[in-house]
Symmetry: C2
Subunit: 214 residues, 2 copies
């Protein structure tokens, strides 16, 4: 599959791009917002496309054209206001979903947040962020796409272990970003993850085995 990574400059996105670059099964196109970010990837031999999640649906559909799958791992981050939470985490995601439908790209992997589906378990200090993720996920579930929604626990920068726990309802946990990137890669053509949403934390199962259980 040729995979468009939306949020290529993010911490999970960067790790995923390297994995896709080394993959024998897949190829990658990194979607980035700024020319400087594109230059860095181009120097590494990674195909890039410039597009902005605050731009038009058509510009995102155009950026995705020719790809077989889209991974949405973009986020406005903690340094901007909730206006950007609405425009990037919510509407940027919704626009990318709409663009996938428009461009005829069926496979879509969303990087969400642990328990985004269960309001009672949203983290108190980031409720607005959780609201945005919750509705982006619901829009994806209502779409015609062949989706997988991965809801990782608290993200860590330590090295991955290759071992995780994945299930429909895990209320609390953390996971290295490296393992999230590996899980995305493994999920791309893993049929057990099609039309599924699950929480993902560090655990005891090899990633490939964990994904077969969801």
């Amino acid at each position: 599959m040729k995979v468009l990574v939306v949020g290529s400059n993010g911490q999970i996105g960067q790790r995923l791009i390297q994995l896709l670059k080394e993959s024998k099964k897949h190829t990658v196109r990194a979607m980035v917002r700024k020319k400087e970010q594109a230059d860095v990837y181009e120097k590494q031999g990674v195909e890039t496309v410039l597009a902005d999640l605050e731009g038009t649906l058509d510009s995102i559909a155009e950026a995705a054209k020719g790809c077989d799958a889209i991974v949405f791992t973009a986020g406005s981050g903690g340094r901007t206001g909730d206006d950007k939470t609405l425009l990037i985490d919510l509407d940027g995601a919704g626009k990318t979903i709409d663009a996938a439908e428009k461009a005829g790209i069926e496979r879509f992997i969303m990087v969400s947040a642990i328990q985004a589906n269960n309001r009672e378990n949203w983290h108190d200090n980031i409720l607005p962020y959780y609201a945005a993720k919750h509705y982006a996920d619901r829009v994806l579930e209502s779409s015609s796409l062949n989706y997988t929604i991965i809801r990782p626990g608290i993200l860590l920068n330590e090295s991955g272990t290759g071992k995780v726990s994945a299930a429909e309802n895990i209320t609390y946990g953390s996971i290295p970003r490296e393992d999230v990137a590996h899980a995305i890669l493994a999920a791309l053509d893993e049929k057990h993850t099609y039309k599924r949403a699950f929480d993902l934390i560090a655990g005891d199962d090899l990633i490939d085995d964990a994904l077969k259980k969801v």
Copy 2:
């Protein structure tokens, strides 16, 4: 019908409560957040219930129990931050939709904003608000409810004329809040508005006639 008005303390809500109070066809229950607001309505002989859109889904379902229809005309307003746009305009609406399904209340009228369905026509200075309204409407459209989404133009406080224009795609216009309240009242049991979404501005048609055309 017994109608739960969510956002009873808002400018459209207040007008709608008075119309429902005078109606021979319908009765009303005003949902308000504060005891003081409830007291004002109770003194007027209006049934009230205390519930908070930032509360649980169950508390909203409980507040709605026994009603036949819900009108969502709540909004966080322009004085609060976009955290409240996410928690009230988006998630408060989503929770009310989920609560309606849970309580088995089929009829649901959403007060949205003109062209909330068309990103290219969102007003530049309130894009985050439009994003919240857009996704609240999409959640309603994906629900099992018998919905009507009314998307009024710029809201005015001048007296209503009783004459409007309603259609699937009106790009620009304004309308007195009084006419919006009248249109909600008329839409409650107007079958032509079931499972429909439309823009609404001041115009030349009597409200009853306009709603039959959508």
